[in-house]
């Protein structure tokens, strides 16, 4: 919601994030500083700590130690709603959609909530202005022909796009995409990423995405964070990271085929 222009301050910064579940340490001293308009990717095997990182930043999990700063403001300890309201949005590995609503209604929900005022009991959800805006958004993600369908009738790719489209309704400053192409047919991956990245770039959104496909990583991100065992083991431009022997050993080389965690 912040309207401040570029300040030179990092859009997102984390300092010494720690998180453990019982004996398992899922995040170990994660310190990053993401400049505005950056597009970074997060790689690593399952359980390396990428999703835990996303969950901590977006308030689903609270770190045991460390701080999270958004545009210099401390947002540690805020919940998903406050984080979203502050300007950090996310998408989900398993798209989080409202299964009993149509595609159009899902977007209408997102728009109604994105309104600075709380959802009104007296204002119609389907008034024409809102519907027009919703259709615009659907068109931008090329899923307008599905507008009347329920979630069970959609392909994985459409669900992924709808999930991201809904997150975009709040005009975030920072977007975290959790495996935007997982479960999507191979030939759809690039078209989807093109659409998403174009939409994000159009609004100057600082973007972090978790990805297993190295072709996508190299093509869309300008920097890569490689996670292993709850730590960041490499942090550099894509080519550098992918050539890093440690990354090759722990992330890309001997990593088993991906499966959802």
């Amino acid at each position: 919601m912040s309207t401040s222009a570029s300040t030179g301050m990092p859009a997102l910064e984390t300092r010494g994030l720690m998180k453990s579940f019982g004996a398992v340490t899922a995040a170990h001293d994660i310190t990053v500083s993401v400049p505005e308009r950056a597009v970074w990717s997060l790689i690593g095997t399952n359980g390396a700590g990428k999703t835990t990182f996303v969950n901590m930043v977006t308030g689903y999990l609270h770190p045991d130690q460390g701080t999270i700063l958004f545009q210099g403001q401390d947002i540690t300890g805020l919940g998903p709603r406050e984080v979203t309201r502050a300007g950090i949005c996310r998408s989900f590995q398993i798209p989080q959609l409202c299964s009993e609503l149509t595609v159009l209604e899902n977007v209408l929900v997102a728009l109604a909530i994105a309104d600075p005022k709380p959802p009104s009991f007296f204002r119609k959800a389907r008034e024409s202005a809102a519907e027009d805006r919703a259709m615009e958004i659907l068109k931008r993600f090329r899923i307008e022909e599905h507008r009347g369908r329920l979630m069970t009738e959609l392909s994985a790719g459409v669900r992924k796009l709808l999930d991201i489209a809904m997150s975009m309704c709040g005009h975030p400053k920072v977007m975290l995409l959790d495996e935007p192409t997982s479960g999507v047919a191979a030939e759809e991956k690039f078209p989807i990423m093109d659409l998403v990245m174009e939409a994000l770039a159009a609004e100057n959104v600082t973007t972090l995405f978790v990805e297993h496909d190295m072709d996508i990583v190299t093509r869309y991100s300008d920097r890569v964070l490689a996670f292993y065992d709850g730590r960041i083991i490499a942090d550099d431009a894509p080519d550098e990271v992918l050539n890093d022997p440690q990354v090759q050993r722990y992330v890309t080389g001997t990593a088993p085929a991906e499966a959802s965690s």
Binding site: N55, Y60, F92, Q93, I94, D178
Partner: protein, 300 residues
């Protein structure tokens, strides 16, 4: 000092009874995800069956070996479980596992209405009595008071039943399979667990425990219409306090309610009606989902 002892003993007796009438409810909820409003009716059917069976036992020469009536009580409860559990679980409940928990409550509310009248049709409205097992063990002097030894038998049986359920779930292979189903139904199915069988077994155990609760209670009450209705609410309160689906929770909840109630009757009788809700409110303020709860983190 005497007073504290009396409160403890009274509380334990009542708590043991509470536990035996609520443990089946929490087990069924844990495995099947259905909060069984008909639990009280099954309790009543257990009591009626026991009354009938023990009556027959003594009519046909049971006097020669009166202790045998305890076995008859257990058998009566078992019979109820064997007859009713498959009928209800296979015939009705399994259609609702994928539906909302609240639908489950409503379905079993329907079953409750039907069973209440069915009991009346089978046994009529005249009360039945089976006080022989109650008197059999005589009296026990405890401090300034006399107790019926049977009350202590209820404590013992309740403890054994609780332990047996716990042991079964945590220490046997079949029980561990059941726990796996509780934890993740779909995963267990893909791993080849016969979920249908597990459900039937768990529901059967739940029905048996309900009926057994009724069987144990029958000798000290007049078995008459309406005895099941009031069991439901207290049993609910107990398992909510303990955490839905938790055997340990039901035990702790039952003892807490039992002792609080005994303390209230001895010290502030006018609060007795509220004591169960009071305990519930206090527990839920600090532990919103009950004392023992299986936390479920959602995968996103």
């Amino acid at each position: 000092m005497d007073l504290i002892l009396v409160i403890l003993v009274d509380g334990l007796i009542y708590g043991a009874w509470l536990f035996i009438v609520s443990v089946g409810l929490t087990l069924v909820f844990g495995v099947l995800g259905i909060l069984n409003l008909a639990h009280g009716s099954l309790y009543a059917i257990g009591a009626y069956s026991t009354a009938t069976a023990v009556g027959i036992y003594f009519a046909y020469g049971g006097d020669a070996f009166p202790l045998g009536s305890y076995a008859v009580m257990a058998l009566a409860a078992l019979l109820v479980a064997v007859v009713i559990a498959p009928l209800l679980e296979r015939g009705l409940l399994r259609h609702f596992y994928h539906r909302d928990e609240v639908i489950g409550v409503l379905v079993t509310y329907g079953v409750f209405l039907i069973l209440e009248d069915a009991i009346k049709l089978i046994w009529g409205v005249d009360p039945l009595f089976v006080y022989e097992p109650y008197d059999l063990l005589g009296m026990v002097e405890a401090g300034p008071l006399f107790y019926v030894a049977y009350d202590f038998l209820v404590i013992a049986v309740s403890a054994v039943a609780g332990f047996a359920v716990w042991y079964f779930l945590n220490r046997t292979r079949r029980g561990k399979v059941m726990l796996a189903v509780i934890h993740d139904r779909e995963m267990s199915q893909t791993m080849g667990v016969n979920v249908d069988k597990v459900f039937l077994l768990a529901f059967g155990a739940g029905v048996f425990l309900a009926a057994f609760g009724g069987a144990l209670t029958a000798p000290m009450i007049s078995v008459s219409p309406g005895i099941g209705v009031n069991v439901i609410i207290v049993a609910f309160a107990v398992i909510i306090i303990g955490g839905l689906g938790s055997i340990e929770g039901a035990a702790l909840g039952a003892v807490m309610v039992g002792i609080s109630r005994a303390a209230s009757v001895h010290l502030m009788p006018e609060l007795e009606l509220f004591i169960i809700y009071f305990v519930m409110a206090v527990v839920l303020i600090f532990r919103p989902e009950g004392i023992f709860v299986r936390t479920q983190t959602r995968k996103i």
